[in-house]
């Protein structure tokens, strides 16, 4: 899947470990999905560069230095695992900050252009990237939301994949996650904006709301 190359930049960014998870659904409710898809997450565990600092700390300098390296390391693995950026249809991102960190530290690494713009560029998308974040102990699973990389409102592509690193984040670490899917939900059949009827509470008057 990947060539076992050295990763000096990733190591220099403080990354301890990278975990790639991929799932392929062959049967959903007993039936092969008409459009089979691969879903994947790549998660990097790295030292929290702001561990032990207060809320007055400027998060910019370390973000500019580290976030691009994480974006590259994670998207390289998604692209290699899923067969190319052109195969990827949906994406998402997430971060879990360890218990000694601030939730803003997680946000710094995923919500700025130094991560988000590069993930979007490398995965050849244009949408805003949906996300999840939290503060947790090592081994916490996090459900990462995905949506379409160029047409975010495409309902068939609203989906999730669960990421988890068994021994991260330590209290002074952060897990940063990029996620992608090559297709829609297994049996997407709940319409779309183009097919929805008009719905308001007035139109539904008479229904018990």
């Amino acid at each position: 899947m990947f060539s076992p190359t050295p990763s000096p930049e990733a190591r220099a960014a403080g990354i301890r470990k990278i975990v790639y998870y991929q799932e392929e659904v062959l049967l959903e409710n007993g039936v092969l999905p008409p459009v089979p898809a691969l879903r994947a997450t790549a998660a990097a565990v790295l030292a929290n560069p702001w561990a032990g600092t207060g809320p007055e700390t400027d998060l910019g300098p370390a973000t500019r230095e580290i976030a691009p390296q994480i974006a590259r390391a994670l998207t390289d693995r998604l692209i290699a695992g899923l067969g190319g950026a052109e195969k990827i249809e949906a994406f998402g991102k997430a971060a879990i900050v360890g218990t000694a960190g601030e939730i803003e530290h997680a946000g710094a690494l995923i919500h700025t252009p130094f991560f988000g713009n590069l993930v979007r560029e490398f995965l050849e998308g244009s949408s805003i990237i949906c996300f999840a974040d939290e503060r947790a102990e090592a081994g916490q699973p996090l459900v990462v939301p995905l949506w379409h990389k160029t047409e975010a409102a495409t309902r068939s592509h609203y989906q999730t994949v669960t990421a988890r690193v068994s021994d991260g984040p330590r209290p002074d670490e952060i897990v940063v996650i990029a996620a992608a899917s090559t297709g829609p939900r297994p049996h997407a059949r709940i319409g779309d904006r183009a097919t929805d009827p008009a719905v308001t509470s007035r139109i539904l008057e008479g229904a018990s709301l």
Binding site: M1, F2, S3, P4, T5, P6, S7, A10, R11, I15, R16, K17, I18, V19, Y20, Y21, Q22, E23, E24, V25, L26, L27, E28, G30, R77, G81, G139, P141, V143, T162, R164, S166, D167
Partner: protein, 183 residues
């Protein structure tokens, strides 16, 4: 054999104990979530029909995938069977403790030793640790290691998760004296 899902997990360790690991230490797992071949049959005395129907096929499916996911020479390996809550642990053991299953991996990895294993029953989302040992000499202490796995929605009560694990090296920063020094 009904396969619901195939999961691939690759862990790369870049640093351990604060020191670089070069090249990155790599461990891969590929798991298939399958319907328990004995689902709904009560206590089945002779498991051989289910073994014949599924063990070789799932071994053949997983072995090349885990070697490919690792992307390097397999130096250590292991296997797992995690049975959903309605099944017997014996069902999982039946599928992995047969040469019909393991020989696919042994041949793909040019291996000769027995595959270390974990067998366990649990709910969907249960965590399990797959033990790995060296592929040609199970006494090589540097290669004793394990990898933790969790599938968010498997196994369902009537399913079994069957997995293979492969490592391209021993433990990161392994530095224990070999077994021979204590003999």
């Amino acid at each position: 054999m009904n396969i619901r899902k195939i999961v691939t997990l690759v862990e790369e360790t870049l640093t351990e104990g604060g020191r670089p690991v070069e090249p990155n230490a790599r461990v891969a797992v590929v798991a298939a979530v399958i319907e328990n071949p004995w689902k709904g049959q009560g206590f089945v005395e002779d498991l051989s029909a289910g073994i014949d129907a599924a063990a070789s096929r799932v071994g053949e499916l997983l072995a090349p995938r885990v070697v490919k996911a690792l992307g390097g020479t397999v130096e250590a390996y292991g296997k797992a069977a995690i049975v959903g809550l309605d099944g017997e642990i014996e069902h999982g053991s039946a599928l992995i403790h047969t040469l019909k299953f393991g020989d696919h991996f042994r041949n793909a990895a040019s291996a000769t030793t027995l595959l270390p294993a974990v067998e366990k029953r649990g709910p969907a989302g249960v965590t399990f640790d797959i033990p790995l040992k060296h592929v040609t000499d199970a006494t090589i202490r540097s290669h004793h290691q394990s990898i933790e796995v969790r599938l968010a929605d498997a196994p369902h009560p009537g399913e079994i998760v069957i997995a293979l694990a492969a490592a391209a090296q021993g433990r990161p920063q392994q530095r224990l004296a070999p077994l021979s020094t204590e003999q």
